[in-house]
Subunit: 249 residues, 3 copies
C-alpha cells in the first residue's frame, strides 16, 4: 500500500499522507516517508518539499489501535524509527513546507513542527500536542522543536494544556506561520516552497543547519532516554486504559 | 517560628510565605520551604502546589538588613541554600502555581519565576528583578529561568532596567501568565493548580522535565561561580553603601 | 585613514563608522573598531558606547568589491578578525547602544545585533540580513545573536526571507528596540547609553555576562567551521557571479 504519495510539479515535490480516514501514522508510513525524503534529497526536480494530508485530516497522530497489539520492544522500535524521521525532517537539507489541510494532532503536529514553514487551513482543523490529556508524555524532539517554534513559555502552555488550537489561535502563538482559506491553502504552501526553493541550495542548507544542527544534536543525545520514559508511561495501567478508549480509524 | 504556612484543600497544597511585613527571605524561610516541598513530593493529598504570600506582599526579596550582619562565608551558605531551593522548585515534580498577591521583587520574583504558572493581582503589586538598581548582580538561575519565561531579549530588558512592572505590563512581556483582580486571585490560581494537578503525574513530570532539565543542569554547572561573583559585588564598597540604605521590615 | 571616529561627551564614547558612502566594512575598519573598543574598556571617561554611522548609512556590510580581489586565505583572515570583533562586541563589558542612522544590512546588521540596545531612524533606512538573497550563507555568531534578539522562529524568517525591514517592522519582530525620528535618534541613543552607563559597572558586566557568555562560548566553538563553510559558498561559481554584480562604494 502506498501511504505517502509523491507528486512533482514546477520544482516542488508534494508528499501526501494517505492512510485511512485520519492518516494515522504507523511503521509503514514512517518507512515510506523516510524513503521518499531520502530519494528526494538528490532529485534535481525537487527544489523544495510540501507535506500535506489526503482527505479532511493532516494527521491525527499515531495509529493507537494498531499499537495496542504491540509489545514494548516492538513499540520502542517504531518510536525510534519515528523520532529518527522526525529529526531527519528537522534537518532536511531542502526547504519543507507543511500544508495543514485539517487536524494536525500529536504525531501529526510533530511532523508539522519539523518543517520550515507551516500554513494551515482556517475553520476546519485544529493543531494540538494533546499527549498529556490522555496520560502520555512526549519526546525530547517534540519539546525542542516546539520551543524552536514558539519559545519555552508557550511550549509549556501548549503541552500542559493539550489545547486544540484553531489556525488563527495557532498563528498568534507561533505554532503555525500562516492561516489560509481551504481554497488558498495549497497555493500559499506552493508560494513559500517556490520562494525557499529558489535560494542557492548550499547557502539555504548552510543557514538552516546553523539554526538547527546544535538543537538536533541535543535532541539526539536525549532522544533514546526520552523514548524509554515515554514507553514506561504508555504501558502504565492508567494510560493504557485511556488508549483503549481512543477510537480512530 | 513558622514562616511558610501549609494548608491542604481539594488536592491543592497552599504554601504561604509569612514573615514580617514584606515576607523577607532569610535562611529559616529557605529551610522551611525546602522541607515543606520535600514533604509534599510524596503526599497523596497534594496533586499540585500554590505558592502565595501573607498580607500585602508576595515577597520583597532577601532580608537585606539581616544579611548586613553576615560575613561572606555565611552569606555564601545562605545563597547556596536559596539557589538550591530555586532550582529544586524549577524542577519540582508536581505543578506549582504562583499566586502573586502583592509585590514580587528580587528574590520574590525569582521564586515566582521557578513556578509553572504565575497569576498576579492587578492594581496593587509590582514584579521586578531590581538588583541592578542597587548595584547587585544576579545568579545563573535567574537569567535562565527569566529567559525561559520571556526570551533572551526581554530578559535583558527586565534585568537592565530593573523596572517595576504592573500585572498588566508583566503579562504583556510574559513575566506572568495571568492578571486577576484581588478577589479572583486565589480562585484563578486554584483553577490552574487543579487543572495541572489532574494530569497523570508521571506524564506531567515527564513533560516538565523534558522542558526544564537541561536548563537546570546548565544552571547547576554555572551557579557556584555566579554566587561567588554575586558575593564579591555585594560586599563591594559601592553596593554595601546602597544596601545600608534599604529599609524594609 | 580614520574609518572609526571617536568622540567622548558626558561619559558616552560615540564610535562613528565613516568609510565611503555606505560605510563598507573591510580589514582596516575591523582593526580600528577593535582597537577603539579595547582602548575604551578601561577609559574612565567612557561609561557606555554609542555605535553609529556617518552620512546616510549605518553600514551596508562588507566591502564586496574589495573582497573580489582576495584569495581564500586572505578572505578567511578577514572573516576571522570580523567575527572575533563581533563576539568581542557581544560580550563587551560596558553597555553598547547602536544608533542606526540609515541602512544596517548584512555585516552592518551583524554589528548592530551584538549591541545591548538598538534604536533606528524611521522613514529612511532598512535593516536586513540579506545574505541568502545573493547566495551567501552566514556565521554561527549571526544566527545565535539573531536568535537572542528575536527568538528562533523569527530568526529563521529574517534569514530565509532576506527581507529589508523598516524601523517599525523591525521593532515588531524585535530586531530593534526603538524607532525614532531622524531628529531624535541620537538623543534616544544617548538617553539609553546614559541610563545603562549609570549602573554599577561590575554589576552590569556581571548581568550581561550571565545573559551572554554561554552563548558566546557556543559561538566560538562553532565559528571557525562556519567561516570555512561560508568561504566555500562565497567562492562558488553561483555566488561569485552575484557578488560581481553588487556595486556599492
Amino acid at each position: 500500500m502506498e501511504f505517502v504519495q509523491l507528486q512533482k510539479h514546477d520544482g516542488i515535490a508534494t508528499l501526501t499522507l494517505a492512510r485511512g480516514k485520519v492518516n494515522a501514522i504507523n511503521g509503514p508510513v514512517v518507512d515510506q516517508m523516510t524513503e521518499r525524503l531520502k530519494s528526494l534529497e538528490h532529485d534535481p526536480e525537487a527544489n523544495s518539499i510540501v507535506l500535506t494530508g489526503a482527505g479532511k485530516f493532516f494527521s491525527f497522530g499515531f495509529d493507537v489501535p494498531e499499537f495496542l497489539s504491540f509489545e514494548k520492544p516492538q513499540f520502542d522500535r517504531f518510536l525510534t524509527a519515528f523520532t529518527d524521521l522526525h529529526t531527519y525532517l528537522f534537518l532536511y537539507p531542502k526547504p519543507v513546507v507543511a500544508a495543514l489541510n485539517g487536524h494536525a494532532v500529536a504525531g501529526g503536529c510533530m511532523l508539522a513542527l519539523a518543517c520550515d514553514y507551516r500554513v494551515m487551513v482556517m475553520g476546519k482543523g485544529k493543531i494540538s500536542l494533546n499527549e498529556l490529556t490522555f496520560g502520555a508524555s512526549v519526546f525530547a524532539g517534540i519539546t525542542e522543536m516546539l520551543r524552536f517554534a514558539v519559545g519555552s513559555a508557550n511550549a509549556a502552555k501548549v503541552l500542559y494544556s493539550g489545547s486544540m488550537y484553531s489556525a488563527e489561535e495557532a498563528k498568534t502563538i507561533g505554532l503555525i506561520d500562516e492561516a489560509a482559506t481551504e481554497q488558498d491553502l495549497m497555493d500559499a504552501a506552493s508560494k513559500m516552497a517556490s520562494s525557499l526553493g529558489s535560494k542557492y541550495p548550499p547557502a539555504f542548507t548552510g543557514v538552516k543547519s546553523l539554526l538547527r544542527k546544535t538543537i538536533a544534536e541535543d535532541i539526539m543525545r536525549r532522544q533514546a532516554d526520552s523514548i524509554w520514559e515515554f514507553v514506561d508511561i504508555w504501558y502504565s495501567e492508567h494510560t493504557w486504559a485511556n488508549l483503549k478508549n481512543i477510537k480512530i480509524a
